[in-house]
Each structure stands twice: as C-alpha cells, then as structure tokens.
C-alpha cells in the first residue's frame, strides 16, 4: 500500500508539468470568459443545466484529453513502466493509479477552472439562481462518472496506440458515431436494426444521465446502469490490455 501511495504522489508530480499548468490556466481563463458572456442578469438561471452543458459539451472532453494523451504508451516508451514493474507494483495497480491521478487532475481543473468562475459570475451578476443541492450533487456525480469513463477508454486505447493517437482515435470514433446517428435519423429513421445499432455504438449512459438530471425529466436508472456497464467493460479491457504489454521477463515481480 505504501508503494501505491508513493506511486500516486510521483504520478501527480510527473503529470503536473509546466505546460500542463499553462493549459489549465488557459482553461480557467476561457471558463471565466464564457461564464461572463453566458450569464445574463435578467433571466432566472438554472445553474445545474448550465453547469452540465458547459462541462459536457466543451470543457470535460478537452480537459480529459489533456491529462490522458499517451497515458500508458509514453510510460512504456520512456521505460518508466519497466522501472515500475521492478517495484512491488502490479500492472492493474499501476493502471488504476494512472486513472485515479488523471481523474483527480481533471476534476481539480474543472472545479477551479469552470465551475467556480461560473458560480461566481452567476452570483455577482445577480440573476435569480434556480437549483437544489441534491440535483447539483447528482449532476456532478454523473459528470465525474462520465469523465472516469472517458479516462478509462483513453487508457485502454493508450495500451495499443502510441502518443497522441489514443485521443485522435476516440475523437474520430465519436465523430463517426455522431455523423452516423444523424445520417440514420434522416435517411433510415424507420430502420429498426440501424437505429438500435447506432444507439449502442458509443457509450453515452452517464452523458444521458447527466442531461436527464439537469433537465429533471426522470430518474435515469437505466442510463446509469448502461454507464456502469461501459465503465466496467472498458476497465476490463484496459486490465487485459496492460497485461499484454511486453517487458523483459526477469524484470517483473510476481
């Protein structure tokens, strides 16, 4: 356990380099600017819906990409992965530490760079804020779960693709599904198999859950379960993938 705590600290230090800090500062500035333009004094503000929209549609994917580009492949290439396996650190343990570090970093950035400026601007500009604490917490829980899912997928992809290609692949995948979904809705809206196929081509359970919570349409039990299934499935794929990475036989401790 001590080794994992130490690994956590080391990984946090390795991740927060000067360029990353500069990017995070940029995100915070952008978040403040967008908050200033989006919040209008006259209208009552549904803060939960605004927070979910901001995070889901723009900031969350970008910040996740910044912290997970080449998350495993860079370590393998640099020899850091090999070095770690000489310690009593298992492959799945290494994997979960990497994902936990990314998740903590993503959420520190989003809370400080996006949520806080938005809430400050909303309070200062003075529109009537509409929210319930339970709804806000539930929406954030869904957003954190969505970021965990994206991090898990990118970590899995990083076991197979070098450098920035894990992010590129995910971007192309989501764009292809989005285009396919639009095409099916226009041309094949009455096709049972295509409609069902497109629905399950990209994991969107937590995304749909966050949207449902923010717009108060229903309690998203099915969406959350689909999200959990996707998260566990991709985590299993990531564990399987990390076990397939070749290092010298004598290095790894059992």
């Amino acid at each position: 356990m001590t080794d994992y705590r130490a690994l956590l600290r080391v990984e946090l230090r390795r991740l927060w380099t000067a360029p990353i800090i500069a990017i995070v500062a940029g995100v915070a500035a952008l978040g403040a600017l967008i908050a200033l333009s989006a919040v209008r004094p006259a209208k009552p503000l549904e803060i939960t819906r605004l927070l979910v929209q901001f995070h889901l549609t723009f900031f969350l994917p970008i910040v996740v990409a910044v912290f997970t580009v080449g998350v495993v492949s860079n370590d393998v290439r640099s020899g850091w992965f090999r070095t770690l396996l000489m310690r009593p650190v298992t492959r799945p343990g290494y994997l979960f530490i990497k994902m936990a570090v990314a998740l903590v970093s993503v959420w520190a950035t989003l809370l400080i760079g996006v949520s806080l400026p938005l809430c400050i601007v909303a309070v200062l500009k003075g529109p009537q804020l509409e929210f319930t604490v339970g709804q806000v917490l539930a929406a954030y829980a869904a957003l954190i779960a969505q970021s965990a899912l994206l991090i898990t997928i990118l970590t899995f992809l990083s076991c197979w693709f070098h450098g920035v290609l894990n992010v590129v692949f995910l971007l192309l995948w989501s764009m292809a599904v989005s285009i396919g979904d639009t095409f099916v809705k226009i041309q094949f809206w009455d096709s049972k198999w295509l409609t069902v196929l497109v629905e399950y081509l990209f994991p969107s359970g937590f995304y749909d859950a966050a949207t449902a919570i923010s717009s108060r349409t229903h309690v998203p039990y099915a969406e959350l379960l689909w999200g959990i299934a996707a998260l566990a499935g991709f985590a299993a794929l990531a564990v399987w993938s990390i076990n397939r990475i070749e290092v010298e036989r004598y290095v790894e401790q059992s």
């Binding site: 809206w189 379960l225 959990i228 299934a229 996707a230 566990a232």
Partner: protein, 275 residues
C-alpha cells in the same frame, strides 16, 4: 508475458455483464401507463361522436426515445389527466403492417416519436417530433384552444356543407402545418370569428401534405403565393367558383386587421348567388 485472467479482470467483466443485463431489463421491460390508447380509426370514430380532438402518438418498439416517453412521460399523472379528459389518446405503431406508406405520407411521419394533434373534424392541427418531457407535453396540449378550430372542416366536407347551406367556403392555404400563433391571432379577431363561424364554411389545406398538395395544385395555388409564415385565403361560392384570393401575412394580424376586412365582403351571403 501471458497471465491467467486476474481476479480484477473477472470482477470487472461480471460487473459489466450484470449492469448491462439490469439496464436492458429496465429499458425493455413493458410498462403500463394506464392511458386507454385506441387505434387511429377507433379514435376518429370517437372524435366525431364526442367532438374531442385526438392526440396521436406514433412510435416503434425499438425506438429508444419512444420507450423513454412510455416509461417517464405517459406514466405522469398530469399527462394522463390531460390525455384522458381533453383528448382522445391514440397510438400508431410504425411496424404495424396496416400502417402503409400512404398513411405515413398523409400523416407526414418522418421521425420517431411523433406526436400529432388532430381536430374532431379530422384536420391535422399540430405536431411535435422527438422526445418531450412531461411538462413540455402538458404545456403543448394545454396551449391549443380547440374551440377556435371548431368551425374548421376537412375540405371535402366543407364543399358539401357549402352546397347544402349556400354559404361560401373560406379556404386557408398554408405551406406547412400552420404555426399556432398565426392561427390563434387569426381566430381571436372578432371579424375573423364572424367570417369563419357565421358567414362562411372554413377549411384549411397544407402544401406539405401530399394529398392536400394535389388539391391545392388542382385549385392552381402555387406555394410562392402563400406568404412565408402566413396564409393564402381563398373564397369559393356555393357553386365552387373562386371569388377572391387574399394573401395574409402574420404581421398583418393586428387590430384592426386590413386583411380580414378585405375578406369580409366576400364572406357575405350575396357572394353565394351566381352571377
């Protein structure tokens, strides 16, 4: 290096499979909303007897948003109350072999789910496409003041009524399903009510609907003649001769309404007499 599948891998796979099964069970489990859904034909029959309008839900079993509406919207008390008291609720499954291509075209179904409002006389009054939360659905259903549409009849019925009563036909031609604000403004004007209710037999045709387009083509109505967001009002006497053709833009529907005033002389009983 190959290793036997680790414990963590097994647990994760089990969690994934279990969560997926549960989610599929919740998603696909049949629910009953308690709404007494009718077929379209049954609803039309009941509508003609009771004078209530029809709410038609067009859906499919494999459509995700349709299932979501079934579970989360139609089970709401406010929706159930609105649909059972003010409307005749009907459902149309797009996979039903009885739903032919011509029915799809007539109802202008291009996506799922589609909610269609049909007046007691059988006129398509409004539609919404896609998932609608319960609050939006209730607001939409409550926003239509159906008493304003009560004089409106389908075109064939209007022609027949005109022959029987000698009243002229007032045909309102629209490019698409008429925007609610347009119809509300038109029908709320005192002059329009006089024209519509007492002096003429009002009907409407929509250029977007294939059957109605054919009728408008036969009446030599070009889509360019119909103002964007407005209507083209045509008056036919009881013998079927066209007496007037007046384009009415949405912005013209203000008190006093010049456009409606222009139509008033054509709506008089004298117009029904042959020249």
């Amino acid at each position: 290096m190959t290793q036997r599948p680790q414990r963590s891998l097994r647990y994760l796979a089990a969690v994934a499979a279990g969560a997926a099964l549960l989610a599929a069970g919740i998603d696909y489990w049949p629910t009953s909303s308690g709404i007494p859904w009718l077929t379209l034909d049954e609803a039309k029959h009941q509508a003609s007897e009771s004078g209530k309008p029809i709410y038609l839900d067009v859906y499919a079993d494999w459509c995700g948003p349709c299932r979501l509406m079934e579970k989360t919207v139609f089970t709401e008390d406010s929706v159930r109350e609105m649909l059972t008291t003010r409307y005749i609720p009907a459902r149309l499954n797009i996979d039903d072999p009885a739903v032919t291509d011509s029915i799809r075209k007539k109802l202008m179904i291009r996506a799922l789910p589609t909610s269609i409002l049909i007046s007691a006389a059988g006129l398509l009054i409004d539609r919404q496409v896609g998932y609608m939360p319960a609050s939006d659905l209730v607001m939409w259903l409550g926003s239509i003041s159906w008493e304003d549409y009560s004089p409106l009849q389908p075109f064939a019925a209007a022609i027949q009524h005109s022959r029987e009563t000698g009243k002229p036909v007032l045909l309102l031609a629209f490019r698409a399903i008429p925007p609610q604000e347009m119809l509300k403004k038109f029908f709320q004007l005192p002059e329009a009510r006089a024209l519509l209710g007492r002096q003429t037999v009002p009907t409407l045709l929509v250029y977007d609907a294939p059957d109605e387009k054919a009728l408008l083509d036969s009446l030599r109505v070009l889509p360019q003649e119909i103002p964007q967001g407005g209507t083209l009002a045509l008056i036919f006497d009881a013998l079927g001769y066209e007496r007037a053709r007046v384009p009415i833009k949405l912005e013209e529907l203000a008190e006093p309404s010049e456009a409606v005033t222009k139509l008033l002389p054509y709506g008089s009983p004298a117009m029904s007499e042959p020249n």
